[in-house]
């Protein structure tokens, strides 16, 4: 700069000389970014494709059309229509005789067991439920679609290779022939499996449903939300707007940030020690699950809420204080509404974390095998991710598709929550 005589070239020439290189660098950077995004999307797409192709078939269930005769001598020999007798009757016998009627040539115990094994043990439950709700059925005949056993289900869904040698196939040639006969008559088909969405867990894959886990997750999340949102927002408000800045608040702040990094299973141990062992709350209950997940989500909500409060321009606070609003009025009339979208986003992110959390719930017994659908936050329950874990752990081939389907349901809920977050934000933002 100080020796203009040396460098006679004009600035513009020097700029032009480096221009190409600059643009190249820019283009390269943009391409890297794009490649990263595409790679990411590719993995997501692959994951979805894999899960959906594995899991969609769980929403269908193979059923066999059987001609059921509700025989009086089996169901209610005394003819008193006593509910206790009706409930305890041997409905499996009705299913068995219907099967025998279909294949009269079947002889021998082994062969018969194979024949009976084609139909799920849940078929008897279907019959019992029908008779209990309508005892008039006794004595009549009815053609019914009853659930097939999980191996038959897998066969019909094409997940068992029919051409494999018998020794390597879970289905014997004999059974395969029976299924093919049924197929020829149109007496076996895949039907929509409502029970998967509404039913509880079961040892039998064809009967297992996600309903119990969904309800368990729902109760757990409601408890988590009801506890963590007010506590988290109140904590953030106090720390950010009211607390004096001193050593104690610094300590609290550091500890909250540290809590966010504590492995979630530790919160499970804490919940076990405090809520269950000390306060005597029931095991496996969504209430306790929700309380444990509250401990886990609180730091997330507090940190997000404080960031949202910090982002409110100080000029708004000054404006309110300047016309004589008290500190509380300033906070509740102006700062909080402006911070709300950020707080809600933080909360939903926390809730989504809580929805996918497994480890701390294992510690408080929400991993138990529970058939009944929970009716409230005190009933024993499990949650979606734990259900996925349990099914993934089961040996039956048919649980594989259930696992993938449960993951689909879980992802569906997560997407739903994100949509709600976006809608809520839009709602709040439009008010301003």
């Amino acid at each position: 700069m100080n020796k203009p005589a040396v460098d006679q070239t004009r600035t513009i020439d020097r700029v032009n000389a480096t221009l190409k290189q600059r643009y190249n660098r820019e283009r390269r950077f943009r391409r890297f970014g794009l490649a990263a995004v595409i790679l990411g999307l590719l993995f997501v797409a692959l994951m979805f494709l894999n899960i959906i192709s594995q899991g969609y078939s769980a929403f269908y269930q193979t059923r066999i059309l059987l001609d059921i005769e509700y025989r009086q001598e089996v169901i209610d020999p005394a003819g008193e229509r006593d509910p206790a007798t009706l409930s305890a009757a041997d409905y499996a016998a009705l299913v068995k005789s219907a099967l025998r009627a279909l294949y009269p040539d079947v002889k021998g115990r082994g062969e018969k067991r194979e024949l009976y094994g084609m139909v799920s043990s849940g078929a008897a439950l279907v019959l019992r439920q029908r008779v209990m709700s309508d005892p008039e059925l006794i004595g009549s005949r009815q053609a019914l679609w009853l659930p097939a056993d999980d191996d038959i289900d897998m066969l019909v869904k094409g997940r068992i290779d029919r051409n494999a040698p018998e020794s390597e196939r879970r289905i014997k040639n004999r059974v395969l022939a029976w299924v093919e006969q049924l197929e020829a008559r149109g007496a076996i088909e895949k039907q929509f499996n409502l029970g998967f969405l509404t039913g509880g867990d079961s040892r039998e894959p064809e009967l297992a449903g996600i309903g119990g886990a969904v309800m368990g997750s729902l109760y757990t999340l409601i408890v988590t939300l009801l506890l963590s949102f007010p506590i988290g927002v109140a904590t953030a408000l106090y720390l950010e707007e009211f607390a004096p800045r001193n050593r104690w608040t610094d300590l609290v702040e550091v500890n909250i940030n540290n809590l966010a990094a504590v492995p979630s299973i530790v919160f499970g141990l804490l919940g076990l020690a405090v809520f269950i062992n000390f306060f005597g709350l029931p095991r496996s209950a969504p209430l306790v699950g929700g309380m444990v997940l509250t401990l886990m989500t609180l730091p997330t909500i507090i940190i997000a809420s404080r960031a949202a409060l910090k982002a409110v321009p100080p000029s708004i606070r000054e404006a309110a204080l300047g016309i004589g609003a008290s500190r509380t009025q300033t906070v509740f009339h102006h700062v909080l509404p402006l911070a709300m979208p950020g707080m809600l986003t933080g909360t939903i992110i926390g809730m989504a974390q809580a929805l996918g959390e497994t480890a701390p719930l294992l510690m408080i017994g929400m991993v138990a095998f529970i058939v009944d659908i929970p009716g409230g936050p005190m009933d024993p329950a499990t949650v979606l991710p734990v259900q996925i874990f349990l099914w993934a752990d089961s040996p039956e081939r048919a649980f594989m598709e259930k696992t993938s389907a449960a993951i689909m349901v879980l992802l569906g809920f997560l997407i739903l929550m994100n949509v709600i977050a976006v809608i809520l934000r839009k709602r709040f933002e439009r008010r301003w």
Binding site: P313, A320, G322, G324
Partner: protein, 294 residues
């Protein structure tokens, strides 16, 4: 040059009132800097500040400033940036309370009330001493709600009709009514910069304060919007006491009756605006006014 002693308050008490005696105009900086040149008092004071020191942490930002702010007059505070004009102004309605490290010493009275009295509630104080800020800061709410907010929280009106009336009057006084009367429910942040600042003024006067503090209210506005606000300040003088900080000497000359010149945290000179701009008595004032620095 600045001697900060803990007993400045006691010292200052002796220097109350006119402290110009014995000064030869525009000379002898060494003596003049320790006191204020000119008459710090006002015939009919609304606010009186005596021996005010303000610290940010250990840093002294305002050194021993005494000044009266008179009824129905506009007092302009000028000086190079960083000299403490805003700091002093914010002492007058205790906005400095919101800054943790800020500490105020000395005595400031509104009428006969010591506003730094430990038992004093800042909420009614700020209702009496309103403030308009450098950057227009309307609430992100409707124009109506912006103006109605003060009366609402202070419970100044008992019904909707009264509130409507207060809002209309405030907007009329702020010269904004004609521009917004058909769209009172649109958001205040959607207005132009000058309109936003007038909305902020309307919001302040809706509470019917006695004193209005303005901290460079036109620094973010274009010349036309500035002229509107200056006109408005002149009109508002009839009913309110106004203290305005400005970095524009022309603005100070146009809108104020008295002018106070601050330099490095000290109040160097104060007097009638006409006198200050025609015959400044302190060299620092003269240097600033003639544009030699600042």
């Amino acid at each position: 040059m600045l001697s900060i002693t803990p007993d400045t308050v006691a010292l200052g008490a002796a220097r109350k009132g006119v402290i110009t005696a014995g000064f030869s105009p525009v000379a002898d900086d060494a003596r003049a800097i320790n006191g204020t040149v000119g008459d710090i008092t006002s015939a009919d004071p609304r606010m009186t500040a005596r021996n005010v020191n303000v610290y940010y942490g250990d840093k002294l930002a305002i050194n021993n400033v005494s000044l009266d702010i008179g009824v129905n007059e506009v007092i302009a505070m000028i000086g190079p940036s960083g000299c403490g004009k805003s700091t002093f102004l914010r002492c007058l309605n205790r906005m400095n309370d919101t800054i943790d490290i800020c500490r105020v010493e000395g005595e400031i009275r509104l009428d006969d009330q010591d506003i730094y009295d430990s038992g004093l509630d800042v909420v009614p104080l700020r209702a009496q001493v309103g403030m308009v800020f450098q950057k227009p800061n309307p609430f992100p709410k409707s124009i109506y709600d912006n103006v109605a907010y003060g009366p609402r929280i202070h419970g100044l009106t008992s019904n909707k009709n009264d509130l409507d009336e207060v809002v209309e009057q405030a907007l009329l006084k702020a010269g904004l009514w004609d521009e917004v009367k058909d769209r009172l429910d649109e958001v205040g942040t959607g207005l132009s910069g000058g309109q936003q600042q007038r909305l902020c003024i309307a919001r302040t006067i809706a509470v019917a304060p006695e004193v209005i503090l303005m901290d460079e209210p036109c620094s973010a506005l274009d010349p036309i919007a500035t002229a509107r606000i200056e006109e408005l300040i002149d009109e508002l003088r009839e009913q309110y006491t106004i203290a305005i900080v400005t970095h524009s000497m022309q603005q100070a000359a146009r809108v104020s009756q008295r002018t106070a010149y601050f330099h490095l945290g000290e109040l160097v000179e104060v007097g009638k605006t006409d006198d200050i701009f025609t015959t400044p008595r302190h060299r620092l004032t003269e240097d600033y006014i003639t544009g030699r620095f600042g």
